[in-house]
Symmetry: C2
DNA sequence: CCGGATCCTCTGGGATACTG
DNA sequence: CAGTATCCCAGAGGATCCGG
């Protein structure tokens, strides 16, 4: 029983879910619009296909995003925010503002 | 030059800073009150001294918290939020709400 | 076009023991 | 009381190749 405090606390829960290296960025991209796999890949030019696919699956399993596959040739898959993902928007907004503050701080620090 | 997009983006920046496993929780605790090392340790019963010390140093280096040491015997060290840490409070609030939503979601899921 | 399957690497987190 | 010093390990991230 090491779940006495965990799983109940919103902060540890959030930390776990958001721990993926690209989670925030993907959530942001999808908050702007539904995107296909290829579009995401282009937007995130620094990660490989495999990594992106893994991240997306993780986020789907966690209920953050929705994957919609069209059964056709050539394949087409669209990713969008789930209900939980939409609820995350306020966090994203606050985070963006703070991130920018932090970048300012970094500049002033040098 | 792989920093073309990184270091400029508020999301990746935030992701990097917040990636520590206990960062959010510590920020929350310190948002309630300034705390001594021992108090934090008791509040976070699941992490060892070494891990806590490392986390705190990291967060201090990142400019999130302030460490104030009193030169006395027995030693006394107090941790509090820095200016940047205080600016993080809105995120924390939004995150708490979302975390609770997520916990509800998990329950309903079973 | 959108992945799955493997393998490999690296580092954050933790256990344990010691100290001013 | 508030740490430091070591050592260790799982697991996330990534590279590469293959497939429907």
């Amino acid at each position: 029983m090491k779940k006495d405090l965990f799983g109940i606390c919103p902060y540890t829960t959030a930390q776990k879910i958001l721990s993926g290296k690209w989670t925030l960025l993907i959530l942001y991209l999808l908050s702007c619009q539904t995107m296909r796999f290829n579009e995401l890949q282009r937007a995130l030019a620094h990660m490989t296909q495999a990594t992106l696919a893994k991240q997306l699956h993780l986020m789907e399993d966690n209920g953050l995003i929705i994957r919609k596959a069209y059964n056709q040739i050539p394949p087409k898959v669209e990713y969008s925010l789930s209900e939980l993902g939409l609820k995350f928007l306020p966090v994203l907004t606050a985070l963006e503002s703070w991130g920018n503050d932090y970048i300012e701080y970094l500049k002033a620090r040098e």
